[in-house]
């Protein structure tokens, strides 16, 4: 135990990731209920989005609210590539993730010269424009059997653009296949996070935060590192969006919706902004609480708002931060 605590932080985090992964690998063997599997799959998706957003918001300190827009870009690009070009879904997903990186870099360029709150509003505005363009477009681009389909799917969005092929492979147990895809996605995203946080990029951002003068004098360029984080974190965010679309078989404008943005933001804040494991803890906790509140659904939003406000006021470093303070 002592040895474990004295491990270098990066190695310790990788070890935790490996242990958790092994544990989660075994879950389908222990409890096979479809409900639990599906819930966990959705958890994997939101955990990926939260962990990547945390890199931008918490680690790099860029006040970007573009994350759900990027998620939607990943989802829409997948659906459109598969629907219009007939691409295989896995290929479409990878391509969509790259498209998301491109979009994110453009947004990142726009934000470079801006400061905190201006970044928040710019990214919020960009997301809103995307939403409005998708929803307000009523001109038919094609007319499939189901009726008129605008270029971006309109208010109804895309469906029937293929699946991952796991239904053919696993039959009625396809959802277990999706579980593993989600799990591997989260593992990859989290390993990437750990590498960033403990690697040169994380170091550079810590330097910029703790002593901007020295960091700048040592040649740490904020803008270059910001672009890197914008681009890299968008890859997994886009992939998560793509997988979300593939998992549910629908891609619609709800992906842009503000409540969803708040939900993910709450995960990060409750768990601990800028911490390695906070976003995952927050995602697990909030999804669990959300399930619990489903019974009293009209209190759900009030509860969410209260949790968000209380956590920021009372625990500035989130739940992961409390753990650290106790450990010390």
């Amino acid at each position: 135990m002592i040895r474990f605590l004295t491990l270098a932080p990066a190695r310790r985090d990788f070890l935790i990731a490996a242990l958790l992964f092994a544990l989660m690998l075994a879950v389908p063997l222990l409890t096979g209920t479809r409900y639990v599997m599906t819930q966990l799959t959705v958890f994997f998706i939101w955990a990926v989005v939260a962990s990547q957003w945390n890199l931008v918001l918490g680690v790099a300190g860029i006040f970007s609210l573009a994350q759900m827009a990027l998620f939607a870009v990943g989802a829409y690009a997948t659906a459109m590539l598969a629907y219009y070009l007939g691409l295989m879904l896995p290929a479409a997903m990878l391509l969509a993730a790259l498209v998301t990186v491109g979009v994110s870099l453009v947004i990142g360029f726009g934000c470079l010269r801006l400061r905190g709150p201006y970044v928040a509003l710019l990214t919020l505005a960009i997301g809103q424009v995307m939403y409005l363009v998708v929803v307000n477009d009523t001109e038919c681009f094609t007319t499939p059997a189901s009726g008129c389909l605008p270029l971006f799917g309109g208010a109804r969005g895309f469906s029937r653009f293929g699946d991952l092929g796991l239904r053919d492979l696993l039959g009625s147990k396809w959802y277990i296949g999706h579980y593993y895809v989600g799990l591997v996605l989260l593992l990859a995203a989290q390993v990437f996070c750990i590498a960033i946080i403990h690697g040169p990029l994380g170091l550079a951002f810590r330097g910029l935060r703790d002593n901007p003068g020295l960091a700048l004098a040592r040649g740490v360029s904020r803008t270059r590192y910001q672009l890197w984080v914008f681009g890299l974190s968008a890859f997994f965010t886009g992939l998560a969006g793509a997988f979300h679309g593939a998992h549910f078989g629908v891609v619609g404008p709800t992906a842009f919706a503000f409540p969803m943005l708040l939900f993910i933001l709450a995960m990060i804040v409750v768990g601990g902004l800028g911490t390695t494991w906070g976003p995952l803890i927050g995602a697990a906790l909030l999804m669990w609480a959300d399930e619990g509140l489903r019974e009293v659904s009209d209190w759900r939003e009030i509860g969410l708002g209260l949790v968000l406000a209380l956590c920021v006021v009372l625990f500035p470093r989130g739940l992961a931060g409390i753990r650290l303070r106790v450990a010390r």
Binding site: L121, L122, N136
Partner: protein
Amino acid sequence: MDVALQILFSGLTLGAVYAVSTIGLALIYGALNMLNMAQGGLLALGGYMAMWAMQAMGFPAPLAALTAMAAGAVAGGLIFLLAARPMLGGEGFETRIFIATIGIGLMLESLILKAFGPQPQAQSLRLDGGLMFGRVNLPWQNLLIFVTAILMLAGVALLLGRSRLGRAIRATSMNREAAQLMGVPIRRIYLTILMLSGALAALSGIMISSMSGLLPNMGADPMLKAFIICVVAGLGNVPGAALVAFAIGMLEALIQYLFGVQYAFAILLCLVIAVLIWRPQGIFGQKEVVRL
């Protein structure tokens, strides 16, 4: 000619509504570096309170408006006392208060939803009929909104420019520490600003709902617009915000006429994105020199 008059009327009305809600936000940002994301909830609160005061309590219209403004002021005050005050001066204040007020806004809207239901309702506080200019109709309601807004703006301008309290508010925005050394009780100033801003938001909420009806989430778009106006003017710049509010109102009326209602907001947002990229500190904002 008729068309121009129509655009002018609706642009001025929109601008007036935006100006009233935006100056509160600009004041708050100027003094506390706080983006109040609960503004949307405050707008809805004002609209619903006015309707409730007239229908359930039978208040006359002016009293109903005052009731709504009082409720907005109390809500704004509570936001300061319960959320902003405990974290003042702590690290990451700007980020944390942003997120906390998002939570508070969500709570406000949900509470309104629980109390009044999700269905759209009409604002009771409104005037019917209008004035004809040739073939162009100027509704009394729009005239009322415009006159109220101008009176409000003039009142705030007088308060800030001529009164002792206003000078203390401006001093706090310009240099918090120096204001403290003059004996300005900055916490009380912050509380005053949040209450004032809450009252202005409530008033703006009545105006908005008298044009487009009451909905629990009616504040979302106007709030985003108010922020856009703040950002375009340069955050914290109060006179600039009022000016830009009217400009954006006119622009929106024009875009609505030229391209249709459904594209107005998207085009507006694109313009703002362009402004931000062209002038990151806003049109009237000073370039910030970061000293290390």
